[in-house]
């Protein structure tokens, strides 16, 4: 990977990695450290990583660092996300908050699987390579995570 390719990876995927790290760690400061570490590792390994596989490599490093970060802290401190300045319908804003809270209920691995699937649109086999699981395991864990999120959402709607 050339210098130019590396810099294009920064401009293209720094935000995506940051969002992923924010959701995984629940903390913006920790997410910034994860992003910096991930790109530093990519820079060091640039000779071995092609431009096409750089995104998956970044998420792989960010996932491992987020897991390590979570295990160090042993519990997640979930912060309120910054308010979106765009005009969002109240119902959707409520749904968004509910989903964020539901996401925090998941374990770190399931949370990462949901984020990789919904945020980045990776397929099962791509997610398996990033997190180091088999495709069948990814499917099973993801389906379980979806059920948890659905049940939480249904229960909240019943309360509301």
């Amino acid at each position: 990977m050339e210098l130019r390719d590396y810099n294009s990876c920064v401009t293209d995927w720094a935000d995506a990695v940051f969002r992923f790290a924010c959701k995984c760690t629940g903390n913006e400061e920790d997410a910034r450290d994860v992003v910096q570490s991930s790109f530093e590792v990519l820079w060091q390994k640039r000779a071995d990583v092609t431009r096409e596989k750089a995104k998956a490599f970044l998420f792989q490093v960010a996932y491992r660092q987020s897991i390590d970060n979570y295990r160090k802290k042993s519990r997640i401190t979930y912060k309120e996300q910054p308010e979106d300045e765009r005009i969002v319908p109240q119902k959707q804003a409520d749904l968004k908050r509910i989903l964020d809270r539901a996401l925090s209920k998941l374990d770190e691995q399931s949370r990462a699987l949901v984020l990789l699937k919904d945020y980045e649109g990776y397929r099962y086999e791509e997610i398996a390579q990033i997190v180091g699981l088999s495709e069948t395991q990814v499917k099973v864990y993801l389906h379980r995570a979806r059920k948890v999120l659905k049940d939480y959402l249904v229960s909240v709607e019943h309360i509301i």
């Binding site: 920064v10 910054p82 099962y124 389906h143 959402l153």
Partner: protein
């Protein structure tokens, strides 16, 4: 595989993840058409599909950007390692150059065993003309015979007691001619080439002196400026020999230095670290 009441949930989850093929999707929707109450589950799973928060942006991307030429950090200890390796190579090359055969760095002088030459008994009544004739200049002897001790002085000093015997001052033209003359391998010069005036008083001794003069001429160093200078000094034979030895050694060293300089001239020294070539020094 047909969608049924036992596996419909798996199909619904796969549809929520967008993993179904076109044929499987049609099959699922055909099943849900038959079971409309199950369609709510599909809608619920699609509702929990997360959407990226566009408000979350990483600020400070410029700190991640690498610039050309300054992105690589070379550890200082690696620089020191390369410098130490280069210095070691330089010292080794100089050491090996000085260790070339013939260049021991130690002043040595090969002085062949000097042949003991008996001093010819010169009668006190020897004519100075005769002495001058005996020691007249001869053709130059090759360089390798220079180290042979000069024994002509002995002949010169003794007669000097009565007369101031000094080597005849050779005219400059003669000296130049002799230096340019080709070196002859035949070191023994026959006295017949020289014109010796007949002296009746020493007729019997003449032949003996000539024979001994031939021996001394065979090992006599070529007349050089240094030897002529030394021979002109009022020194005893022992010290004269020592000075000659010193001058020979100095000349030898000068020749060695010149030869080394010629050998390393226009040569190149390549400094390598392993297989990697660091730089080349052209002398």
């Amino acid at each position: 595989m047909m969608v049924n009441l036992e596996n419909y949930e798996e199909y619904i989850l796969l549809e929520a993840d967008g993993e179904l093929s076109e044929a499987e999707r049609k099959e699922l929707y055909a099943f849900l058409h038959l079971h409309p109450e199950l369609k709510k589950e599909l809608d619920a799973y699609k509702a929990v599909h997360l959407v990226p928060d566009a408000g979350l942006v990483y600020t400070g991307k410029e700190t991640l950007i690498k610039k050309a030429g300054g992105g690589r950090v070379i550890a200082l200890n690696r620089i020191l390692m390369y410098g130490a390796a280069a210095a070691l190579v330089v010292f080794l090359s100089i050491f090996l150059l000085n260790k070339q055969p013939g260049n021991t760095g130690i002043a040595t002088t090969n002085i062949p065993d000097s042949k003991p030459v008996a001093v010819a008994p010169v009668p006190p009544t020897i004519n100075t003309d005769t002495i001058k004739a005996l020691h007249s200049p001869v053709d130059p002897i090759p360089y390798e015979k220079k180290n042979k001790p000069a024994l002509v002085a002995k002949h010169k000093t003794k007669p000097a007691q009565k007369t101031t015997v000094t080597p005849a001052p050779q005219p400059k033209q003669e000296i130049i001619a002799k230096e340019q003359a080709p070196v002859k391998n035949d070191l023994i010069q026959k006295p017949t080439k020289r014109s010796i005036p007949p002296v009746p008083e020493i007729e019997n001794l003449r032949t003996e002196n000539i024979a001994k003069a031939e021996e001394t001429l065979a090992i006599q160093p070529a007349p050089s400026k240094e030897n002529s200078l030394l021979s002109s000094l009022p020194l005893r034979e022992e010290k004269m020999q020592g000075f000659r030895d010193i001058s020979d050694k100095v000349n030898e060293k000068i020749e060695q230095v010149r030869s080394v300089r010629e050998q390393i001239k226009d040569s190149e020294i390549t400094f390598k670290l392993g297989k990697k070539e660091l730089f080349v020094v052209k002398l």
